[in-house]
């Protein structure tokens, strides 16, 4: 059907930390993350804040901090991305819309950092293109000469968005584009992302806001304690009976409009040998405690649960 743009297979990200002197300690933040984005599709990764979703975006672009290591395969158009390749295509074919204004250079005018380091005739061309995109997203000409601290939250978001789109990328990674915005700006952001989809670009949306994900995504990947536990079509989220994983169900049932249903339990503290949801799961068996489930196909959806695995049953 449609062409696969990005596919992430069994990616894990860990950090090396120093504990007491020179003793090193590996801290695993993402244990197993798999998903794919096709052309003209919006895929959302939904997980609680601080769970390490943004790291995936940084891993795709190859901008992880030095003490971070990323294992597993990240493929772009069926080619494995190495660090050199990431550096070659980032900013051109893959672009990041970062989380906050902190990603802008505070000492540079907005237009200068949007076009980057170009000189001579190319500069004129770049400025013309930058003006065109900025007007498209409703940024007036005065904005060009402002410094980042002079922008309001909504304006900064638009600057980040239009800067990312300047090189006409095929894949856009949007990292938490909505928090801190009032309702009107959220709606505008949602419209902007929908437009990207219409233009045939792939969008990977990283968010913790379930309502935003439900509104724009075609598919939603649920992220829990370092694992993707379910990837399902957005329309299935309207009816909890069509959802597979018990955590996904409780996530939807806990929405105020769906009854505000209470589910006990918290994410596990330490790494567990079996299923990460074992402690809280209503449909667990002894097998789940010791054996870690894999992400398997179940109809259109992907699910990480032994109950849907025919071989285990």
């Amino acid at each position: 059907m449609s062409e696969e743009l990005l596919s992430v297979k069994n990616v894990s990200i860990s950090f090396t930390q120093y504990v007491q002197g020179l003793n090193q300690h590996e801290l695993k933040v993402i244990s197993d993350l798999s998903l794919d984005v096709k052309k003209g599709e919006v895929v959302a990764i939904l997980g609680s804040s601080g769970s390490g979703k943004s790291l995936l975006a940084h891993a795709i672009l190859g901008i992880l901090p030095e003490n971070g290591t990323c294992e597993g395969d990240i493929c772009y158009k069926n080619e494995v991305l190495t660090q050199q390749k990431k550096e070659a295509i980032r900013g051109k074919e893959i672009c990041l819309i970062p989380q906050s204004v902190n990603f802008l250079d505070p000492l540079m005018k907005v237009k200068e950092q949007a076009i980057g380091d170009v000189k001579g005739e190319e500069r004129e061309e770049a400025l013309r293109k930058q003006r065109e995109i900025f007007s498209k997203y409703g940024l007036a000409e005065e904005v060009d000469d402002l410094y980042p601290f002079e922008l309001s939250g909504g304006m900064a978001r638009k600057v980040l968005l239009s800067t990312a789109l300047l090189s006409n990328p095929e894949l856009v990674v949007a990292d938490e584009p909505t928090p801190g915005l009032d309702e009107k700006s959220v709606k505008e952001t949602i419209m902007d992302i929908k437009n990207l989809k219409e233009e045939g670009k792939g969008v990977l949306l990283i968010t913790h806001d379930i309502n935003v994900a439900l509104e724009i995504a075609d598919r939603i990947a649920i992220f829990y304690s370092g694992f993707v536990i379910e990837i399902n079509k957005t329309e299935n989220f309207a009816d909890t009976g069509k959802l597979l994983h018990p955590y996904t169900k409780s996530l939807i049932e806990a929405l105020p409009r769906n009854g505000f249903k209470l589910t006990e339990g918290v994410q596990p503290l330490e790494e567990v040998p079996g299923c990460v949801y074992y402690d809280n799961c209503p449909i667990k068996s002894d097998f789940c405690k010791e054996n870690r489930p894999n992400l398997i196909k179940c109809g259109d959806a992907m699910i990480r649960c032994h109950n849907y695995d025919k071989e285990v049953k």
């Binding site: 997980g47 804040s49 996530l251 409009r257 589910t263 918290v266």
Partner: protein
């Protein structure tokens, strides 16, 4: 028992009032929801009621007695970002005991795990830290809880857990709650009455 705020006015800069003649009353057995736009001054009102900002005009009384501006404020504020309200160099048991030592069963109701006590604030997630900051605010001297967007950044499952245990404890112990949020759906579920901030702020 009621917490009454009468004709509260406050401004950060001269001639630029942000709160004007606000009156609000919180009964000790109810959850009052306060809803308003970002930047309209909800958080400022919360800080005034819970004693963080003192140069306001108007009166705040509990049971018809003026709140003492020094000492422990009986109206305790819970902030949106728990990680910013904790000393990063204190372990969690010290963070909690700064206020009081809650009995074990209360820790269980709020889902505080024994294993968290010896961790640093940076080693816990936002939802876990928020449980600590709520329990910390429930000191026996607390008569009212001012909850300023306490569940905005949490996932829906954690949001239900936190509100469920907080409201349950407060109804049993006659503690009134002012729940501030811009999430209408949430307030409709948890609050007994909803007040629109723009209606009470007479700017």
């Amino acid at each position: 028992m009621y917490l009454n705020a009468n004709n509260i006015s406050f401004s950060y800069r001269k001639n630029k009032p942000i709160l004007k003649n606000i009156s609000i009353s919180i009964p000790d057995n109810k959850v009052i929801g306060l809803m308003g736009d970002s930047g309209s001054g909800k958080s400022t009102l919360c800080k005034v009621i819970s004693g963080y900002l003192n140069n306001y005009t108007g009166t705040i009384t509990i049971d018809n007695e003026l709140i003492d501006k020094t000492g422990y404020c009986p109206a305790q504020l819970i902030f949106q970002h728990p990680e910013k309200t904790m000393n990063p160099k204190w372990k969690m048991h010290k963070v909690l005991s700064e206020s009081w030592n809650p009995p074990q069963e209360l820790k269980d109701t709020f889902g505080l795990k024994e294993g968290w006590m010896n961790r640093w604030p940076s080693e816990l997630s936002g939802g876990e830290l928020q449980r600590f900051s709520i329990l910390r605010a429930l000191n026996p001297n607390t008569k009212f809880i001012i909850a300023d967007e306490i569940s905005t950044m949490l996932d829906t499952v954690t949001q239900v857990q936190i509100w469920d245990s907080l409201i349950d404890y407060c109804k049993k112990n006659k503690i009134g709650i002012l729940a501030v949020s811009h999430d209408k759906e949430l307030l409709e579920v948890i609050a007994d009455n909803i007040v629109l901030f723009n209606d009470i702020n007479k700017l």
